[in-house]
């Protein structure tokens, strides 16, 4: 039986718990879960430098409100998806108490202890559900590799805020997600599957992002299984085929929301 390891950005990630429990429901063996510690000054500083005041919003939504940040009556958000798929676990350490899966806490997923543990368990695949850039030493001990679902269409849209960027650039056909292997570059690893996301009337960018989350869970789980069972192959990316995008300035984010409104009026 294939062995899978999970990388998670924090002990309370609903995305991580959803993907992990779905993989278990689908009959896969999870050998180990590696979780980044929440309280880590270096991490807080680097994320604040990257995200600025948006980090506070992220912490508020993902760590404090958690389930309460989603509207209960919506049918296409992570909360509804969890209900539909009978996902009951909402903290990573519950996988240890419920399924006896080792949950290893680490300051960084690139720690030597993570490398040693991977060498010991020899996973066939590592499923990445967040936690920062991964170094070569970890990548080379991850069996077939570390699989990530990028909230953007690869290869053209690498980096950050890549739901927003194609809308700003009037390329709404490039709103989508991509399951790909991580490599040393940024979103440049081999692609397994892409999926286009169509915009819906009345959606703002926050609604759109919420709608994409469950699609990412489903696509990451399906693609992991399809890959392990040999139904899909890696497609290498041309490095020159995409650009790296960065956090979008609030003025441009407002323009994106205005564009979304006007797109839907047409």
């Amino acid at each position: 039986m294939n062995k899978i390891a999970i990388f998670s950005p924090n002990p309370f990630s609903l995305y991580s718990t959803t993907v992990t429990e779905m993989l278990i429901h689908r009959g896969l063996k999870i050998s180990s879960i590696y979780v980044r510690k929440l309280i880590n000054p270096g991490r807080v500083l680097s994320e604040y430098r990257r995200d600025g005041s948006r980090l506070l919003k992220k912490v508020w939504k993902k760590l404090i409100l958690r389930h309460a940040s989603y509207e209960k009556d919506k049918s296409e958000n992570l909360l509804a998806f969890r209900r539909k798929n009978n996902i009951s676990i909402s903290k990573l350490d519950e996988f240890h108490s419920n399924y006896s899966i080792p949950v290893i806490s680490c300051a960084s997923l690139n720690e030597i202890d993570v490398v040693k543990s991977l060498q010991e368990i020899q996973p066939d695949l590592v499923v990445f559900t967040g936690g920062g850039l991964i170094r070569q030493e970890v990548l080379s001990n991850a069996g077939n590799g570390v699989l990530n679902c990028h909230m953007g269409f690869l290869p053209p849209y690498r980096g950050m805020d890549v739901v927003e960027w194609p809308i700003l650039e009037d390329h709404v056909e490039n709103v989508g997600i991509t399951v790909h292997f991580m490599d040393q570059g940024l979103d440049t690893g081999d692609i397994l599957r892409t999926r286009q996301i169509h915009l819906k009337p009345g959606e703002n960018i926050s609604d759109l992002r919420e709608r994409i989350e469950p699609i990412m869970c489903q696509t990451l789980v399906d693609t992991s299984i399809d890959f392990l069972e040999g139904r899909i192959e890696r497609q290498p990316q041309k490095k020159q085929a995409g650009k790296q995008y960065f956090r979008m300035h609030p003025i441009l984010l407002n323009i994106v929301n205005e564009k979304l409104k006007s797109i839907q009026k047409l």
Binding site: R49, L168, E169, F246, M248, H249, I255
Partner: protein
């Protein structure tokens, strides 16, 4: 964001500056990418971007440490004259990434690289002008995005009580003019995007 009326008032003050002084600051004022028409500004007399000697920048791997202000001006002129050569693209893309990734420490880095806070600030303003020109010439919104972020940094871009300072005698005129140009182009760029 700055009101178009204020921009026009400042622009009129620039018109009252001696032409020789304006010529000395031509790199800060020429190539306004049609923004005079968009914002209804009276055109300035014809100003020429400084003539720059050939610099062997394109034979070198892009690096922030290789830059001085003449090199940044050389890159700006290459972009403005529509030279879309691979080495130029590699340099400008490198600088975009460098400033995005190192933005929190860029003022310190510029001070160390350019020898003083003043020269470091001017270099960062020239780099911002390079990104703005790149946006207008190549239409790549990532460059405008970075310009907007830098213009939020008051230690680089500061427009407080600027109207009183726009005279040919002001020693800081180069700083004022390059910032006014950035402000005008930002307004024109955002007007252009929202109009579409």
């Amino acid at each position: 964001m700055m009101d178009n009326m204020v921009i026009r008032q400042w622009w009129n003050l620039i018109h009252s500056i001696d032409k020789n002084v304006l010529e000395e600051n031509a790199s800060s004022l020429c190539f306004l990418h049609n923004s005079e028409q968009i914002l209804d500004l009276k055109p300035l007399p014809d100003l020429q971007f400084p003539v720059l000697g050939s610099i062997g920048l394109f034979s070198m791997k892009p690096s922030f440490k290789l830059l001085s202000i003449p090199e940044i001006l050389f890159l700006r002129k290459s972009v403005l004259t529509n030279e879309k050569i691979p080495q130029l693209e590699a340099w400008v893309e490198f600088l975009l990434r460098y400033l995005e990734i190192n933005r929190p420490s860029i003022i310190k880095r510029a001070r160390l690289q350019f020898g003083s806070s003043q020269v470091g600030r001017m270099a960062l303003l020239e780099l911002t002008a390079l990104f703005m020109d790149t946006y207008f010439r190549w239409g790549d919104l990532r460059y405008l995005n970075l310009v907007l972020k830098i213009m939020d940094m008051p230690r680089i871009y500061s427009m407080s009580s600027i109207g009183k300072k726009i005279t040919g005698q002001n020693k800081n005129l180069p700083f004022l003019l390059i910032q006014i140009r950035l402000m005008i182009l930002r307004q024109a760029a955002l007007d252009g995007i929202t109009r579409i």
